[in-house]
Amino acid sequence: MEKKRESQCLCFRMEEMSEENIEEVRVLEAQIERLQAEVSALQCQQQENHKDITFNLRGQMQNAMSYVCGQRQGGGKEKVLSKLKEEVEELEEDLKRQTQMNGISLNSCTKKTLQSGGSKLVQKFLLSGHCSELVFQVEFQLSEVKEGQGSERTISDLNVVMDAGDLQNFSGFLSGVEENRDLLLFFRTLRTFTDRCDDRCRTYQHFQEKYPSVVSLPGGCRSEVMNLNHPELPGCVLMVHWSVEVSREGRVTPKVDLLTKIPERALQLFPSQPVGGAAEAFQSLLRILGPEAAVESIIRAVGL
């Protein structure tokens, strides 16, 4: 009887143990299934995040990300921080170089991926910045289609916004640029335009400093007009009108004119030829000497 009971107890114990194990196994397997589902969902989300090219992490950025997420590898925080700082400083230097060489200052660039998959990538860009004194906001779509060894990139939906005040010379050109999606032409022309405006501003400032009693800039040095007032002949004004025009094609042309504002009485006192014909004379000087020298000659010639 004892033996039987013994064997019964043993058998029960064995069953209990294996039942415990079986229970444990079941519980663990269920846990695993739940965790796998969680991980799967999170991986999906991670995939979506990786499509956001802005946060495509490599090199020091990858190390930094791993650190933040709890993977404390050798080196610790200070090392990760200093290496990333180094890389960021290199990028800042690079940006300075590009800004200087390109003559364009970009403040912000936001990218949004509209389509990515297979061989086509479509991104929407919103850029803001300035070129000298002119502020712009440019929006466009960039499509990149893989073709054999290379890829074809095209721009669409180009939209350019500039300050209303700067628009006068530009509006015809801007609508042409948007129509033809000529992103590169816009920036090339913007730069050339501001270069010519800067030339004018520098020249006007130079003359104001050199002949302060004669030269006045009613609209400031960035305006188109410079007045030459004879200190002893009030009412007699020679006005230099220097405009920078932009054609629809993007050609930038400075145009300098001399206008005279001389009261009738004065004209009677002066032989009309040199004074009345000043405008044409100026144009010839302009052709030969260029704007700065031509203006200088006028100032000298009028005995100022």
């Binding site: 064997s7 956001d52 930094a64 650190y67 970009l106 860009f125 992103l183």
Partner: protein, 297 residues
């Protein structure tokens, strides 16, 4: 599921069955134990994986938020920067690192933007002794060829290597625009020439692709001259059209000339209109209009 153990066999049978049970449990016990160990390890691994994924996704969200606020600050430079400093104090342990990461992405985007808008991609080479620049060309929204220059910086600026085609007068442009003192002005002028050339070339390609009824009789590598043969519908008169692009910085012709067996045709009002059209509109587009107007086949 357990095996069925005979509980009531007497004597030998019960002994045998006991042995059987022991043998079975010896086999399955370590199996079950190691299986449990295995499963527990798997659970741990999955937990770790899940937590890391969660952390990455959270960090990603923080970075995005940081970027948005940094972009807003940069787009409106005049506004105060200090306001947003406090926001990150919740997680100040990693906030410095996160800010740096966000700035990294911002800089990368700005550099990418410079490249896309046709920037010169200036790179220092040979420990500062040289500089590499690229000139991008585009026409009608399509990016075309990119040209590269390698420039020695010392003792004077000198182009050492390039892939600019020979029919672009590189040397005279160097002198004209005073490359030594103003490299940007030189690059701007060169870019103008290259883009105009790329534009004319593209127009020629499109004429050949889109207008099969128009015969291209003559063109040159610089694409500064284009001679085409039109056919007038109906009478099937032939018109020889010459486009001269004497200004190589432009994509539009400086001169349009028609010749025809019908001597009166070039002076007719429609063809005078076509003349202005070809002066003001890129040729491939002008031809579409001319076709629509029924002037050409």
């Amino acid at each position: 599921m357990g095996a069925f153990f005979p509980l009531f066999s007497p004597g030998v049978l019960s002994h045998l069955s006991r042995l059987e049970v022991e043998a079975r449990s010896r086999k399955s016990r370590p199996q079950q134990r190691s299986r449990v160990k295995e499963l527990k390890a798997k659970v741990e691994a999955l937990r770790l994986q899940r937590d890391r994924l969660k952390a990455e996704i959270e960090t990603h969200k923080s970075l995005q938020k940081l970027r948005v606020s940094m972009d807003k600050q940069s787009a409106h430079e005049e506004e105060e920067e200090e306001e947003d400093e406090e926001e990150m104090d919740e997680d100040s342990e990693n906030s410095q690192l996160l800010r740096l990461m966000a700035r990294h992405t911002q800089l990368k985007d700005l550099l990418h933007a410079h490249h896309i808008i046709g920037g010169y991609n200036v790179i220092k080479t040979r420990q500062g002794k040289g500089v590499c620049v690229s000139l991008a060309t585009a026409y009608d929204g399509v990016f075309l060829d990119t040209y590269n220059l390698e420039i020695d910086v010392k003792p004077t600026l000198r182009i050492s290597r390039h892939n600019v085609p020979p029919f672009i007068p590189l040397n005279s442009l160097v002198e004209q625009s005073n490359m030594q003192t103003d490299i940007r002005s030189f690059l701007d002028t060169l870019s103008q020439h290259l883009n105009a050339f790329a534009g004319r070339k593209q127009q020629l390609k499109l004429v050949k692709e889109l207008h099969k009824a128009v015969e291209v009789m003559e063109s040159n590598v610089l694409c500064s001259i284009l001679v085409m043969m039109f056919t007038v519908p109906g009478e099937k008169t032939a018109v020889l059209c010459t486009l001269d692009y004497t200004d190589h910085t432009r994509c539009l012709p400086t001169r349009v000339h028609f010749e025809s067996e019908d001597k009166e045709l070039p002076d007719s009002p429609e063809w005078k209109k076509n003349c202005s059209l070809l002066m003001e509109t890129p040729v491939h587009k002008a031809l579409i209009i001319m076709k629509k107007m029924g002037n050409i086949v």
